[in-house]
């Protein structure tokens, strides 16, 4: 008499999701691309940050340009001031403006690149 065959050991059967798509949050970049309302919020934020920076540069420029006439009008003594034989106003308008504009432009470029890289960090998949 043979002993009845041993029932096969019990095996726990579970469904593996290894092959399925992982449950990850949608990257916001897709929302931006598909112009959902959420994407709109991200775009609005980016545009606002960039525009604020641009307007700041423009304001500095206008302030710098009006400073010279204002100084010359309010303090008439500055009209005759010369630096190494060159009148003050000539030095400002003919020389100093250009490096100042360059420094401002460089600063702006760095800042706006930072705004963009922050934005990329937020919207792209980590």
């Amino acid at each position: 008499m043979s002993t009845p065959a041993q029932p096969p050991p019990r095996v726990r059967v579970t469904s593996s999701r290894r092959g399925a798509a992982p449950l990850r949050p949608r990257p916001p970049a897709r929302d931006i691309d598909e112009q959902t309302e959420l994407g709109d919020v991200y775009l609005e934020g980016l545009m606002r940050a960039q525009l604020r920076l641009s307007l700041a540069v423009l304001a500095i420029t206008v302030a710098g340009l009006t400073a010279l006439p204002v100084v010359l009008l309010l303090v008439p003594a500055t009209r005759g001031v010369t630096v190494v034989g060159v009148p003050f106003a000539w030095l400002v308008l003919g020389v100093a403006v250009y490096p100042a504009a360059w420094v401002l432009a460089r600063w702006y470029t760095r800042q706006s690149e930072r705004v963009e890289s922050d934005f990329v960090d937020v919207v792209e998949d980590p």
């Binding site: 931006i32 691309d33 340009l65 106003a89 000539w90 360059w102 401002l104 470029t109 690149e113």
Partner: protein, 510 residues
């Protein structure tokens, strides 16, 4: 006055341009050649190219002439030319590169989806381009007459023929490298003589220029009818905003690899322009030393060219004059070819091709139409330059800036930053701004009895015409919310999202 050396310099510059145009015939066959360049051109090289194309007769001869005549207040002019790139940098550089448009009408149509706006923009490109070309021809005539004694019509004709040939042959402008070299040629041609003249001036005990007080003190009215503060503020505004609306400036941005590259390029452009503009005032000042008052029959634009002969003389003077004449012709040719290319493109695409297609049923070969457009594009401004009374090179260029500032600047800035811009609003802004500016300038040129404030307001319309154009565009847009293009968000996503963000739908491929 006939100077073989100067003539040789001018001929050499013209032949080089033609040779390069011929080379372009072989190298650039499609518009896509721009794109091919786009992936390889570094910001630094591209910046030199923009500088080379931008520095025109107005910068090379005109600024010095105006400083000679008007003194310190005219220094606002080069300041405005340079700051124009700062405004362009912060408002439009990166979005423009990302827009995928490479002419202004392209941008207008892509953003607003309207054929009417495209047509109006095309007409404006023609007007601005021709206004800018006229003084290049006048400068060329003046230079050639001065150094060879040739009749006045010859110089402009030479430039016209060379440009028509170069543009007709093939994308002269696609050769970024050549424009980049042009910048350094112009800088050297202006800087070396300036340096020599300054040294001689110091050796002679640096005599002070003989000038009236308003020449060296800023914003001093020259008479009771003069309003220098308004005049200068309006000029600077026109130059600052006008730069972004010049047809030959925008297209260069396309050779940048991406938006970040476009910004970096602009920073370098500001450095290059700033370096160049240090020099013209030196000629203005030395001009006052050499010629206390303008000699009879001499225009102030020719001060730069006359100085070496006056202060140095002999072979040295001839050499320096030749250098300046060659540099000046390089300036005329590079700017004019860029402009002629833009104008030709518009004539060909907007006017000729649709009509040719209708008559011939699409049988006309495209290249022939393009060459015909190139000829029309340069003959019209040449004729105008012969008929119109010369206003001074930098003054005429200023008119082009004023029109661009009151039309394209509001369109581009609102288009890039404001999502409620409607098609009707944009069109109204273009028409009101452009119409007001053109009317004001036409009145200034045709009537002479205006005095005081009316004359000042009409001669420098930017300070009121630009806000007027902005206000019109904004108010009309608010009134017509139904005409805001449905594609607005998609276009804005494309303009502002950095290239590193992967967008499958919104990006245009290039």
């Amino acid at each position: 006055m006939s100077q073989p050396l100067s003539l040789a310099a001018v001929v050499a510059v013209c032949l080089t341009t033609l040779a390069v145009g011929g080379l372009g015939l072989r190298l650039s066959r499609r518009t896509s050649d721009f794109y091919v360049a786009g992936r390889t051109v570094s910001p630094r090289l591209n910046a030199s190219a923009i500088g080379g194309e931008y520095l025109s007769a107005a910068s090379f001869l005109g600024v010095a002439g105006l400083v000679y005549g008007g003194g310190v207040d005219l220094l606002w002019l080069p300041v405005g030319y340079t700051l124009g790139y700062l405004v362009l940098l912060v408002m439009v550089a990166a979005p423009m590169r990302r827009s995928g448009a490479y002419t202004l009408p392209d941008f207008a149509e892509a953003r607003l989806g309207s054929k009417a706006i495209r047509r109006v923009s095309s007409v404006l490109v023609l007007a601005i381009g021709w206004l800018y070309l006229v003084p290049q021809f006048q400068g060329a005539s003046l230079t050639l007459t001065l150094v060879t004694g040739a009749p006045e019509w010859v110089g402009g004709l030479v430039v016209m023929v060379v440009i028509a040939a170069a543009v007709g042959a093939g994308g002269m402008r696609s050769i970024t490298f050549v424009q980049a070299v042009q910048y350094w040629v112009k800088l050297t041609a202006l800087a070396v003589p300036a340096f020599v003249l300054l040294l001689l001036w110091f050796r002679d005990g640096h005599p002070a220029p003989v000038v009236p007080p308003e020449w060296s003190i800023p914003l001093t009215p020259s008479g009771p009818e003069d309003h220098p503060v308004y005049r200068n503020a309006s000029t600077v505004l026109a130059l600052c905003l006008g730069t972004m609306g010049l047809p030959h400036v925008l297209v260069r941005y396309y050779t940048n690899p991406d938006g970040v590259g476009a910004r970096r390029t602009t920073v370098t452009v500001i450095a290059l322009l700033g370096t160049f503009y240090l020099i013209p005032p030196v000629y203005g000042m030395l001009g006052r030393v050499a010629f206390p008052s303008l000699p009879d029959g001499m225009r102030s634009d020719s001060v730069v060219l006359r100085l070496p002969g006056e202060l140095v003389g002999g072979l040295g003077g001839d050499l320096l004059t030749a250098m300046l004449a060659g540099g000046a012709f390089a300036a005329f040719l590079s700017t004019a070819s860029g402009l002629a290319m833009s104008v030709t493109g518009v004539i060909d695409q907007e006017l000729l091709r649709p009509r040719l297609a209708r008559f011939t049923g699409g049988d006309a070969p495209g290249v022939r139409g393009f060459r015909f457009a190139a000829v029309v594009g340069v003959v019209v401004p040449y004729v105008v330059s012969r008929v119109a009374e010369p206003l001074g090179v930098a003054t005429t260029v200023g008119l082009a800036f004023a029109v661009a500032a009151a039309t394209f600047a509001p369109l581009i800035m609102l288009g890039v930053w404001w999502r409620r811009l409607s098609t009707t609003g944009a069109l109204a802004g273009l028409l009101v701004g452009g119409g007001a500016t053109v009317a004001a300038l036409a009145l200034t040129m045709t009537t002479s009895h205006l005095g005081g404030w009316p004359a000042a307001l009409l001669a420098n319309p930017a300070l009121w015409a630009v806000p007027l154009a902005f206000a019109t565009a904004v108010l009309v847009s608010y009134a017509t919310p139904g005409r805001v293009p449905a594609s607005t968000t998609r276009v804005l996503v494309r303009l502002h999202t950095p290239e590193r963000v992967r967008l499958a739908r919104s990006r245009v491929r290039d």
